[in-house]
């Protein structure tokens, strides 16, 4: 086991000298060296733009660093940032707002997305046209969506208030979706659901299309009702896809910033101030860089941990 480079082992086993790998002949480099050469740029790039900033953020999270005052000497705070974040009622309020947002959007998107997928999967006339129409919101940029719903939610001229008024008979200027404290959290849930239901639908549709037709035929011959077919075939077979959609939407919405920032900027008061909006305030309005770094790390660990547990569950479901 002293000088075992690859080819030597091969020669020993095969009992004959194999032709040396082509790469070795051409450049005098081993296959392994060439492999490294190919992946090195990617690794360097990842280190530079992912790993390094992460480590830097972790470092800053233990200090009193302020990005607007780079000349103030750094003071090492230990865990002080972390303890004060966990004791901060504003942070907990932001977490609550985030939880409300994430849970309700996932619930509604899964419900509507799966429902729409079931309808579209029936392949009625013009179903491909409707699929395209349904997918439109997802293709818009969050910035566009935020701006455009601000107009729709305008109490005087907005279409939304007008439609609600038309359907229910309420005075259209009697409520403001993004101005009223009880309504604002639902306004952002509504817009996100509008935008991302198509995405969940698409994933569910992929799941539905992956179920071969003959399974339903077998079930039909086996005298399973449509209802039983849904519960014992459709749902279990789409479940892994559905869970994947929930994972993607969960992570995305836990980090939600752009659309909500444009729509409500966290207001009124701090009713729609999601974690990432609080984070942006701390980092770029109050310039508490060390503190916000610690907050960012906490959010990261939360998402990372939750996603990992979830993926384990997902794998269990897949293996069932």
């Amino acid at each position: 086991m002293t000088d075992t480079s690859g080819p030597v082992v091969i020669r020993d086993r095969a009992g004959a000298v194999p032709a040396p790998p082509v790469a070795r002949v051409i450049r005098g480099l081993s296959d392994r060296a060439i492999a490294w050469l190919f992946i090195a740029p990617t690794i360097l790039l990842l280190l530079a733009i992912n790993v390094f900033p992460l480590i830097w953020t972790i470092r800053l999270s233990f200090t009193n660093y302020r990005a607007n005052k780079p000349n103030v000497p750094l003071r090492w705070l230990g865990l002080e940032n972390y303890t004060s974040i966990l004791a901060d009622p504003d942070v907990w309020q932001a977490m609550q707002a985030t939880a409300h947002f994430v849970i309700w959007t996932i619930l509604l998107e899964v419900l509507f997305g799966f429902g729409l997928a079931l309808l579209i999967d029936k392949k009625f006339r013009g179903h491909s046209f409707w699929t395209t129409v349904i997918l439109l919101p997802m293709m818009l940029s969050p910035a566009v969506v935020g701006t455009f719903w601000t107009f729709l939610f305008q109490p005087q001229i907005g279409l939304f208030n007008y439609v609600v008024a038309f359907l229910t008979g309420i005075d259209p200027s009697s409520f403001q979706m993004i101005g009223d404290v009880p309504l604002a959290p639902w306004a952002i849930v509504l817009v996100d659901t509008w935008m991302w239901t198509p995405y969940v639908m698409l994933i569910c549709l992929a799941g539905l299309r992956s179920i071969p037709n003959y399974i339903y035929e077998a079930a039909e011959v086996d005298r399973a009702s449509k209802w039983r077919q849904f519960w014992s075939i459709t749902l279990p077979m789409v479940l892994p896809f559905l869970m994947l959609a929930v994972l993607f939407r969960g992570i995305e919405n836990f980090k939600m910033f752009d659309m909500v920032n444009l729509l409500t900027s966290g207001g009124p008061g701090s009713t729609t101030e999601l974690a990432s909006i609080t984070l942006k305030r701390e980092a770029f309005e109050k310039w508490r860089t060390g503190y916000s770094s610690a907050f960012a790390i906490i959010l990261f660990v939360t998402v990372f941990g939750a996603a990992n547990i979830y993926v384990k569950a997902l794998n269990k479901v897949k293996q069932r």
Binding site: Y214, E217, V221, R223, A224
Partner: protein, 339 residues
């Protein structure tokens, strides 16, 4: 169990008829095998009986009731699909129990367990009951699929090439097993295959399909010995029947109008060259283990026939040939001189 009647059933797929004016009666407790090449409409026929396909014309009766417009669930049939159609996320046990747990049936759970275990033993998959359906080998999957039909006692079993994906040994075993099940349960079975051995060994009657039409139906022996035309004659027999133009070999008392002669091994007498009227040349001898094929050339026509293992013949040798009661066909391919 019940008798099944197809009455002039037609099913078209955009212009072309996959099944054309097919009439077929399957008696109560009968084992009928449909034989035909790929695309002959075998699967479509089964799907029509099961109700997975709607007849464009004609009627289908199960146990005397017209089921032509009924849903599959209302027809009480069991179907073994050509592809293994298992429920992939369920265990083998749950796959087998699935049809029994139908609310329409309301079987108590101990009885379900009883029947599933019994069927699993029959098909030798007892050790796999807890495995997930997708973790099985192809042969095991197909046995589960067969089992899912056998747990029930339907009016008729419909089986679409259920043994085609199994290895030869298992196929032979299951052939006997299916035949036994048929006898024990008195099951009515409509079975589709393109394997002539399966057809010959299991069927009470064989129906030969060609492009959606039933060409001939009868007992294995009847189909083999008295095929109504060339097409049917070529479907059965191993090695396949040899077709020669009339006149190559002399046929004693050939009916008038004979154009083609069908020669099977049992129709051919081979002897050492001894100055007979017609002679052939041995071009090749194939030893297949259980049989030996002798290839001959007669006036530029090739013949393949069975010979016994230790026949004293060599390649290049000339042999005397004579025919004994071969099959004679007219210009249209219809067999002559038959009853």
């Amino acid at each position: 169990m019940a008798e099944v009647l197809l009455d002039n059933v037609t099913r078209r797929f955009g212009g072309i008829a996959a099944v054309r004016e097919l009439s077929l009666h399957i008696g109560d407790g009968e084992f009928v095998v449909l034989l035909g090449p790929t695309g002959a409409g075998k699967t479509t026929t089964l799907r029509l009986v099961a109700g997975l396909e709607r007849a464009d014309a004609g009627r289908i009766l199960i146990g005397g009731h017209d089921v032509t417009r009924l849903e599959p669930a209302a027809r009480d049939v069991a179907f073994v699909f050509q592809q293994y159609s298992l429920y992939p996320h369920l265990s083998v046990f749950d796959n087998l129990a699935f049809p029994l747990r139908s609310p329409a049936r309301r079987l108590p759970e101990p009885e379900v367990r009883e029947r599933v275990t019994r069927t699993a033993e029959l098909l030798r998959i007892s050790s796999k009951l807890d495995s997930k359906a997708t973790r099985l080998s192809g042969g095991e999957m197909q046995r589960v699929a067969i089992g899912r039909a056998l747990v029930r006692q339907p009016a008729i079993f419909l089986m679409d090439e259920p043994l085609s994906s199994l290895d030869a040994k298992l196929r032979a075993e299951l052939r006997i097993e299916l035949k036994r099940i048929h006898e024990v349960l008195g099951a009515t079975i409509l079975y589709v295959t393109h394997d002539q051995i399966e057809a010959m060994t299991m069927a009470n009657r064989i129906g030969v399909l060609r492009e959606g039409e039933l060409v001939q139906i009868g007992s294995a022996q009847h189909i083999y010995e008295e095929p109504s035309n060339l097409y049917v004659a070529t479907r059965l027999g191993s090695p396949p029947i040899n077709l020669l133009p009339a006149g190559v070999l002399p046929v004693p008392d050939a009916p008038a109008g004979t154009r083609t002669i069908g020669v099977r091994s049992e129709h051919l007498r081979i002897g050492k060259a001894n100055g007979a009227a017609v002679q052939g040349v041995v071009t090749r001898i194939e030893h297949l283990g259980d049989q030996n094929h002798l290839h001959l050339t007669v006036a530029d026509h090739r013949l393949v026939t069975l010979i016994e293992a230790h026949a004293d013949l060599a390649v290049g040798e000339r042999v005397d040939l004579a025919l004994a009661r071969p099959l004679c066909f007219d210009a249209a391919g219809v067999r002559l001189g038959g009853s």
